[in-house]
């Protein structure tokens, strides 16, 4: 990975962190409603994997912790923020919300709010890819706790039986909502659980983006070359609670301190500084520019956008004017 790419990724991850932290503020200010799940601390996972993928070509989906995956796929951060602000200019016109960010033009196939829901959907996208004969792959990001759903086992089984081009990325942040993994899960190492489906898997450090990138390259190469599904486990940590309604009191402070020393942004930043590729001042300047961009462009756009009109209430319940509803007559 050359230094320009590293600097860009540092910028992207720092942007992601500042974006999410600004969402936190907007939630406290009640500009964002509903549930809000933030990605702070896990940035190297989405950025490392999707850097190795072909965004706008490969299909990506994830859970409700979805803002950053969408942005890395190419969805404009302004329309993501506008969606969070429930505005008609949002990517889903204000009908989706934080847990349902979609950017189908960028092949970001959505954020889903049922834990484990995307496992079979991603396998289905892979089935469609295989039928059409393209070289795209389907990438599904989910947390460790989703692996305790039946859909995990059902989908891995089908993906292997039919050798589907799907990469399952497990962002193992050690907690399922507020329950620590060893209290809920018989096998703590998630990559071991897929051996029962004869699917190759790896576990790597999810805080070092270069490690993630390298592991993802191998995983993606496996899937794209037609060898069937792959499971990549990334060890990571979220800084915030499961959602904003979470007191986050269940985690030992010592554990939080330990993980804060393994911050994915700081790891990459310090590596660039040590290599003489950038200075601390360069980093601070980058940070300032990002903060300004978020405030001046993104928040401003979201704030000033209108809400969806009331006529939109029923508009997308069913597909409008489908002739086959009337048996093919217009």
């Amino acid at each position: 990975m050359d230094s320009e790419v590293k600097k860009r990724l540092l910028h992207e991850m720092l942007f992601a962190r500042r974006f999410e932290e600004r969402c936190y503020e907007a939630y406290v200010e009640r500009k964002i409603g509903g549930f809000l799940h933030l990605y702070s601390g896990e940035e190297a996972c989405a950025h490392g994997v999707l850097e190795a993928a072909r965004v706008n070509h490969d299909y990506v989906m994830t859970s409700y912790r979805d803002h950053i995956h969408a942005i890395k796929c190419g969805v404009d951060p302004k329309v993501v923020m506008a969606e969070l602000f429930a505005k008609v200019t949002g990517c889903c016109k204000g009908l989706g919300g934080s847990m349902h960010i979609f950017g189908v033009d960028h092949r970001f196939m959505g954020g889903y709010a049922l834990v484990g829901g995307p496992f079979p959907l991603a396998a289905g996208i892979a089935k469609a890819i295989k039928m059409k004969g393209g070289d795209e792959i389907s990438i599904c990001f989910l947390g460790d706790a989703a692996n305790n759903q039946g859909t995990f086992h059902e989908s891995l089984n089908m993906a292997k039986v039919w050798e589907l081009p799907v990469l399952y990325v497990c962002e193992n942040n050690l907690y399922g909502i507020g329950t620590r993994i060893d209290r809920s899960t018989a096998v703590v190492d998630q990559y071991k659980r897929v051996s029962g489906y004869n699917i190759p898997s790896t576990q790597v450090d999810g805080q070092d983006i270069e490690v993630v990138y390298e592991a993802a390259q191998k995983a993606i190469e496996h899937v794209r070359s037609g060898k069937g599904p792959y499971f990549l486990e990334l060890m990571t940590y979220r800084y915030r609670g499961h959602s904003m309604s979470d007191s986050n009191a269940y985690r030992p402070k010592e554990e939080e301190r330990m993980w804060s020393k393994r911050d994915p942004i700081i790891i990459l930043r310090d590596r660039l500084i040590e290599a003489g590729e950038m200075t601390l001042d360069d980093y601070k300047e980058m940070d300032t520019e990002i903060l300004e961009q978020i405030e001046d462009e993104i928040i401003k756009f979201a704030e000033e956008s209108p809400e969806p009109p009331l006529e939109m209430l029923e508009k997308y319940t069913l597909v409008e004017n489908d002739p086959w509803v009337n048996g093919g007559s217009k």
């Binding site: 979609f102 079979p120 289905g124 859909t151 089984n157 089908m158 597909v319 048996g327």
Partner: protein, 326 residues
């Protein structure tokens, strides 16, 4: 015009659509090599191969979700769930994804899947194989629900459902696959909305759907021959959305209405039709509307008790006569 069995009509719709469009696939338990529990996909595996006629593992929620995901990219899956009782397991993907993804993506995605599944009480299948779940499906926004009562409808509704961009649930019946009926030899499509007058009459409207249409027709014969009452039978083949205008038109004409349903009364088709009558044409009524429903019990294994749980044509006759003060 040919007289064919219900399963043959379903199979013909599959075959024509799969032959026309390579993106149409079917999937389910034992539908391929085994040809389908009710033969609805018989012979299609040999004709279209394992990539398009997919024998799935027994993972209802998983393979339904897989079909929905494939539909995002233009695949048109016809998903057979062997028994509607097993469809409970796929409710998560049907309700949480298929019915909602178009809406929550702000119109970006569509999930044009067809889920077909037989329900109803058959012969002593017991509590966990006798569910009638149409009431559950029809209550969910974002999903179309149809339920054919004869081979013609089975063919025409499936043809339209496959081409429609909405997710469509087709409620079939385990006892009806060998029922014979006339189906035009030429290709045709049925609307996924509306209702059909299965028998015209002027004294009372009997509403039925799926198997209860046949009970209503039997009841209408008895009412005509033995009691001089001319009953109209309206077939509500579309359950969601229900044909509000059709219900209103028939009740406004006949001034008496009875709904026959195979399911338990609570929160059911009968309750919904009565609410529509109440909202649309209450002042046209000469008598309070009635419903004839199943007992509110899990279906028993014992055959005598099983029969006692499910309505008959005689129950409909009795309820209708009561509305005439007889």
């Amino acid at each position: 015009m040919s007289e064919i069995m219900f399963w043959e009509a379903v199979r013909r719709a599959h075959d024509e659509e799969m032959s026309r469009d390579p993106m149409v696939i079917c999937m389910g338990e034992d539908i391929g090599v085994a040809g389908g529990t009710y033969k609805a996909t018989n012979g299609l595996y040999d004709k279209y191969g394992p990539e398009r006629v997919i024998d799935t593992p027994i993972s209802e929620n998983g393979y339904t979700g897989l079909g929905i995901g494939a539909s995002y990219l233009g695949v048109r899956p016809i998903i057979e769930i062997m028994s509607v009782n097993f469809a409970w397991l796929a409710m998560d993907q049907i309700f949480n994804t298929a019915a909602k993804v178009h809406y929550m993506s702000g119109g970006q995605l569509k999930a044009p899947v067809v889920v077909r599944s037989p329900g109803g009480t058959a012969h002593q299948l017991g509590a966990q194989h006798s569910a009638r779940m149409e009431k559950v499906f029809m209550g969910i926004a974002g999903l179309r629900v149809v339920t054919p009562s004869n081979p013609r409808q089975a063919y025409g509704l499936l043809k339209s459902a496959i081409r429609c961009d909405d997710p469509v649930f087709i409620n079939e019946h385990e006892l009806m696959y060998n029922m014979k009926g006339e189906v035009a030899d030429e290709e045709f499509f049925m609307p996924l909305v509306g209702s059909e007058v299965a028998r015209s009459g002027k004294d009372i409207t009997l509403f039925g759907y799926n198997i209860s249409v046949h009970w209503c027709l039997q009841a209408a014969d008895i009412l005509a021959k033995q009691h001089g009452i001319d009953a109209e039978v309206v077939d509500l083949y579309a359950l969601s959305p229900l044909d509000r205008e059709g219900i209103k038109a028939s009740v406004s004409k006949n001034h008496r209405a009875l709904i026959a349903e195979e399911a338990e009364p609570a929160v059911g088709v009968g309750a919904e039709v009565m609410a529509i009558i109440n909202e649309e044409c209450f002042f046209e009524l000469d008598a309070p509307p009635a419903r004839v429903s199943a007992a509110h019990v899990p279906i028993p294994y014992n055959h005598t008790l099983e029969k006692a749980a499910i309505p008959t044509a005689q129950d409909i006759v009795k309820a209708a006569l009561k509305m005439f003060g007889k």
